[in-house]
């Protein structure tokens, strides 16, 4: 099977400042990749730009999804192709219940005409409720969650679990987890880690973006990449993550002659 998400020599800048400077990466369904890098290496820029955040400018390079160039697509079109981003800081949308939002999102993503067309048809309520209840149960999320307003007043852990629930409901092909472990205590990291690992299978490819290998104890990646100053400087297996855990980023910074921030 060919790769689903292919990033080829990508350059991104923010307010004229180059952040990602020629990045190559390919992820396919069933694979688990970890992209590790210190603060300021461009991790979140990459995640947001891949999802189509208008703030990030792609200067050059190519990103394809199932062979289709996605850089010209709106975020919702990317979502419909099967790309998902679990946000580091999910935005609250007051007044919109989790259930209403999820029903609309699931309906939009699963619509027949998945290529740009807009669906007004919602999936049947009963079918949706059953699926939501099942998935919440599986992830150990209380049912009252569905009635709460989207991320509004959620604790850090609740926000991340809400992201995982969305991941479970939207069933993407490739999910990017942007610092999903940040701001969580040890127990919350374990819960989120175990939840995500439940979802992993041959249908889901994951790109875990993190500066800290904690989450990787629960979701063990087959591929580990190190992002430094906007470029992947090293790729390897699990041993690379362990090396970082033991020694930190300094030896790598030194090796590539990049000053610490």
């Amino acid at each position: 099977m060919s790769n689903n998400l292919v990033i080829d020599n990508l350059h991104i800048s923010v307010e004229g400042q180059p952040i990602i400077k020629g990045l190559n990466l390919a992820v396919k369904q069933g694979e688990i990749h970890a992209l590790m890098g210190p603060n300021g290496s461009g991790k979140s820029t990459l995640a947001n730009a891949l999802m189509g955040h208008p703030f990030y400018e792609v200067d050059s390079g190519e990103v394809t999804f199932d062979g289709e160039d996605i850089l010209g697509l709106e975020p919702n079109e990317r979502a419909r192709l099967g790309l998902f981003l679990a946000f580091q800081y999910p935005t609250a949308v007051p007044g919109v219940s989790m259930a209403n939002f999820l029903r609309m999102a699931v309906s939009a993503v699963r619509a027949e005409n998945s290529n740009g067309g807009e669906t007004t048809e919602l999936i049947p309520m009963r079918e949706f409720r059953r699926e939501l209840r099942d998935k919440m149960k599986r992830l150990g999320i209380d049912e009252s969650f569905a009635r709460r307003y989207l991320n509004d007043g959620f604790s850090g852990g609740e926000k991340k679990r809400a992201e995982v629930l969305q991941l479970a409901m939207l069933e993407p092909k490739i999910a990017i987890l942007d610092e999903t472990d940040s701001g969580l205590d040890i127990d919350a990291v374990r819960i989120v880690g175990e939840s995500v690992s439940q979802l992993i299978g041959s249908e889901l490819g994951v790109l875990i973006i993190t500066h800290y290998p904690r989450l990787l104890n629960y979701i063990r990646p087959e591929f580990v990449h190190i992002l430094l100053d906007g470029k992947i400087v090293e790729s390897g297996g699990w041993e690379l993550a362990q090396l970082l855990e033991d020694e930190g980023y300094d030896p790598i910074r030194e090796k590539y002659g990049i000053a610490p921030l």
Partner: protein, 469 residues
């Protein structure tokens, strides 16, 4: 008919009073065989109308954001104001060739009896161009002594009752020239009287429609809920013709007796050619609960003054408002929470969404009298501005003359949050769907407090329609 001009010493230009003439005041009164006291009230109001300056000519704080301001930078921005209002264009009455009051051909579907039959409504009154076209009331409520009729009929059947409430205690003829105009030319509307202890579970429906071009509607609504009674009234204002110019100059007077519970919802959906003026006042007695629900969606320009008087100790008033303006609409709402007794609670929440080049104004005042000890009053106005050229003004206010009170207020105005849009779009929603969801979420705190499913649905539909334009 003789056109009348009056010269206002405060203004350089003349006001053409046109069809709003004394001749018509008398015509309305005599054609409907009104009691002498009403005729006198009308003529008295007419006199006031002639002597009072139009509020937009000598604007006070309440009117100045809708008036044609001659000073400051305000009117440069306020291209849409009352300068375009030409009262002489509108007719308070239409006459048949032999001089009788004319009834327009009914445009509303005649469903009142069916609505009552199917328990959709306890009673229905439909008024079109100032004349009642439909009326129904459930037999059970008739048996319980509930009175629900248009005021013209009530004047024949219960003249003294009407007299004790009509523009005496709540809305007065002498506040401004629109109230005076209303007092002189009012037609249509309804009187609802719920006797002591009667609980009406199914809402009453009132429809007020304008159909013919250049007609003025001056509907007058009186609700009297006696002690310990319960009632809900849903009033809809609509234009039968999307392009017919019109004028509405209405008054709503509500009296909530001790321990009574009343909900009054008014959904205003005039077309964009209608000038809308409304004076509304509720007087709430001891331990009663009253809820205003205001959906302001239509009209070219609206000026609504809504007053809650918390007259009896321990009473509570909720004031919920949802407004959505688009195109070149201008909606100006002034609210007043007047605490006259101790241990009274008022809670106001007005939510406004603005699109295109529309503008909205909300100004509110919490006024606590020295007798209003232990008042708990709250007011909040939030504005969501969808386009750069739309403009929202929000002016909360407090005036407190008692020393042991809790009064808080808040106001916000902002545009749609781009991060919210991106977040929702990243989950597959189109921009339009995301915007719709954010707007619905914005309205939700007010919408969620509306206890009527039918009203919520109507408002949600209007929001959807407006977003799609």
């Amino acid at each position: 008919m003789e056109a009348e001009f009056i010269k206002n010493p405060l203004c350089a230009y003349e006001v053409h009073k046109g069809n709003f003439s004394r001749e018509f005041v008398e015509k309305i009164s005599s054609e409907q065989d009104e009691p002498q006291w009403m005729r006198s009230l009308r003529l008295d109001a007419y006199k006031r109308y002639q002597s009072l300056p139009m509020p937009h000519i000598t604007p006070d704080d309440v009117w100045r954001r809708t008036a044609a301001m001659c000073t400051q930078d305000y009117w440069r921005r306020t291209a849409r104001n009352m300068r375009g209002l030409k009262l002489e264009k509108y007719q308070p009455v239409a006459l048949t060739p032999n001089g009788k009051l004319m009834q327009s051909d009914p445009v509303l579907p005649n469903t009142s009896a069916a609505q009552v039959q199917s328990n959709e409504a306890s009673g229905v009154i439909a008024v079109q161009d100032g004349r009642v076209v439909e009326h129904a009331l459930s037999k059970e409520l008739v048996r319980k002594g509930v009175y629900f009729a248009d005021i013209n009929t009530a004047l024949q059947e219960r003249s003294d009752f009407v007299r004790s409430y009509f523009m005496t205690k709540a809305v007065r003829i002498d506040w401004n020239s629109f109230d005076a105009l209303h007092g002189a030319f009012w037609q249509g509307g309804f009187l609802l009287h719920v006797p002591k202890g009667v609980v009406v579970e199914i809402p009453m429906h009132v429809f007020i429609a304008l159909s013919e071009a250049n007609r003025a509607d001056l509907a007058h609504s009186i609700i009297v809920a006696d002690d310990s009674s319960q009632i809900t009234i849903v009033e809809e204002q609509l234009s039968a013709d999307v392009a017919a110019p019109g004028l509405h100059c209405g008054a709503v007077e509500i009296f909530v007796g001790r321990n009574a519970q009343v909900n009054y919802a008014q959904i205003q959906r005039w077309n964009h050619q209608v000038w809308n003026f409304s004076s509304q006042r509720a007087i709430v007695d001891r331990d009663a609960e009253f809820r205003w629900i205001t959906g302001a969606l239509g009209s070219r320009l609206s000026k609504l003054n809504q007053v809650s008087v918390l007259e009896g100790a321990g009473c509570r008033v909720d004031m919920l408002g949802l407004t959505f303006t688009h195109a070149r609409q201008h909606i100006d709402i002034h609210t007043y929470q007047e605490h006259k007794a101790n241990h009274t609670t008022s809670d106001l929440l007005y939510k406004s969404v603005l699109k295109n080049q529309s503008q909205s104004v909300w100004s509110g005042m919490i006024y606590v009298h020295p007798e209003g000890q232990h008042t708990d009053a709250y007011q909040k106005n939030d504005n969501l501005v969808l386009n750069k050229r739309a403009h929202a003004d929000t002016l909360p206010g407090l005036e407190i003359n008692a020393n042991e009170v809790r009064c808080t207020h808040g106001a916000t105005a902002g545009s749609i949050d781009k991060e919210q849009v991106f977040y929702l779009m990243s989950r597959g929603l189109s921009y339009d769907q995301a915007e719709k969801m954010i707007v619905a979420g914005f309205f939700e705190p007010a919408m969620g407090r509306i206890p009527l499913v039918s009203v919520r649905k109507q408002l949600q539909q209007s929001v959807t329609d407006k977003l799609a334009i």
